[in-house]
């Protein structure tokens, strides 16, 4: 499988009726990369993720995992290829215990797959995400930020090669965001995992990732290092243009320029 990207999207397009949510996006992801995806509200980030994980069948374009065509396959085939994801609003199995939620991935996509000792069993994954104390609690009973960690744990239990994180830091306190970022770095470094991370809070993201993809109105308008991307005229325009009618959640372009690459 050498020479092939871990995951590659070619001209990926998703249409909802007349709306083009993802517009001919091409991108390839190599092993061990830590990539951020940013873009203003409605830029198509989550739809792009849904297409990358098989949850949304693309209207046109192709998807390849290590050279193997996956376009149109059911989501469990993506999971079997080592593509795992989290959802923006945590979708844990509410009635099951935290431990059983982790076990779920181990029983299906993660079953029989070679794994690092960090992902050896439920206990080791719970340790990794720091939820050992909550193991026997129902997933519905843990705090929202713990549910986010659990989502990551569930995805890790599939013993993936690539992890898609959809706004895992949203709504977390600064300290929690920092811990989350550290966890993500650690996953990448120790598990040699490719991580693609969507975040609405651009400054946070730019601090931790090595490559940034910017989506705007469904199109890929920039793909490069954080330093390159924040100087990209198109990107600045996308965010400044957005600022006129959006609330100040979307100021990031300014902040990003003030502190280009903190990482």
């Amino acid at each position: 499988m050498n020479g092939h990207a871990l995951l590659e999207a070619r001209d990926l397009t998703v249409r909802f009726g007349g709306l083009v949510a993802v517009d001919a996006v091409s991108a390839a992801f190599a092993a061990g990369e830590l990539v951020g995806i940013i873009g203003p509200n409605g830029a198509g980030k989550t739809t792009f993720f849904n297409a990358l994980s098989g949850v949304q069948v693309p209207s046109s374009g192709e998807l390849f995992a290590q050279g193997r065509r996956l376009t149109g396959a059911a989501p469990h085939r993506y999971a079997a290829q080592g593509i795992a994801r989290t959802f923006q609003t945590p979708r844990v199995f509410a009635e099951l215990t935290v431990a059983a939620n982790i076990d779920f991935g181990l029983q299906f996509a993660g079953r029989g797959r070679k794994a690092s000792w960090l992902l050896k069993d439920t206990t080791s994954i719970l340790n990794l995400i720091g939820l050992s104390a909550q193991a026997e609690m129902p997933a519905a009973a843990v705090t929202p930020s713990q549910q986010r960690l659990l989502e990551i744990g569930m995805a890790l239990a599939t013993r993936p090669k690539l992890l898609l994180l959809d706004e895992v830091a949203a709504g977390l306190t600064e300290a929690e965001v920092d811990a989350m970022a550290q966890l993500i770095r650690r996953l990448r470094d120790e598990l040699d995992l490719t991580v693609i991370w969507i975040e609405h809070a651009v400054t946070t993201l730019l601090r931790y990732v090595e490559r940034v993809i910017v989506l705007h109105q469904g199109q890929l308008i920039a793909d490069g290092t954080p330093a390159e991307v924040v100087r990209n005229a198109q990107v600045i325009e996308a965010y400044l243009g957005d600022e006129i009618d959006a609330d100040h959640e979307a100021h990031p372009a300014h902040e990003a320029r003030r502190e280009p690459v903190a990482a």
């Binding site: 994980s53 098989g54 949850v55 059911a74 989501p75 469990h76 993506y78 999971a79 079997a80 795992a84 994801r85 959802f87 979708r91 844990v92 199995f93 509410a94 009635e95 099951l96 431990a99 059983a100 076990d103 779920f104 991935g105 181990l106 029983q107 299906f108 996509a109 993660g110 079953r111 439920t122 569930m154 995805a155 239990a157 599939t158």
Partner: protein, 328 residues
Amino acid sequence: MLLNKKLLGRDLLVLFALVGWALALPLYGSEFAVSMLLTCLMYVALSSSWGLFCGSTRYLSLATAAFFGIGAYTSALMLEHLPWLVVIALGALVAAAVALVMGAAVLHLRGTYFAVLTFGMTELIRHAVTTFEKMVTGTVGRVLMVVPDRNTIYLTVLGIATLAVLTSILVRRSRFGLAMAGIGSDEQRAQTLGVNTKLVKMGGFALTAAFAGAVGAAMATRWTYIDPATVFNPFIGFQTVLIALIGGAATLWGPLLAAVVFSLLAETLRLQVPQAYMVGLGVLLILSVLYLPGGLASLRWSTFGQWRDDTRAWWKALREPGPKEGAT
């Protein structure tokens, strides 16, 4: 493996004891008691196997009557040519095969759409059989000439019911059961964690249908005369669903518990006051949905305390109108 192995021994022991008791009943019980237990066993088999798939995945199927009827007709057609147990197995197989076809068409739908379509297909099958009988064989119903004796039927239905509960006990602790629970909780999430949901749903639906088909094949011989209106009676499907819901569809013992309550109600009330039977069913369902959404199996001593507290709070609120009274 972290699959739930807890209490496996207890569940098997309870099943063992119940089967022992049911085996002994014909030796000392009256004919009426045995007949009542047979109805009870029929509903245990139907609702336990229904709960096995529909309870855990939350796909509410109303097609039980279709599979039951298919089993019954298989039995009517084959009883004279094949040994008894082969007929039962064939009833199960044909029903499962029909379930696979039906499932391929409707299992991608959820909620009301799935329920309504399974009901519609049941009616379609009933009318198709009726038409076929009228056009081709020129009859309305069929009389089953060579039927096994009462004891054989009783033991067979007992065997099917036992197998249904045993399957439930084992499946709940298997990967298959975990996959179905995941589908019931969040189907897409289960898919992204590697569950081939289509395969699991088809398998579960066919398994449920096989039990209904087997029960239909056995019960047809007890009725000795069958016609589409009786064996494809949608009420069989509704009653199965009601029993499972009242007992607790996602639980192991709930459907069994409710099936006992039902058959007692059915046999004691239906003959004397048929309206009261239907009213009783309705009231039970409403009460269980309102006050015991987890079903009879979720009833605990603490539930009574909760009801008492709720009633007190309600009573208090009734006597002391809240401050918002003047609003609007």
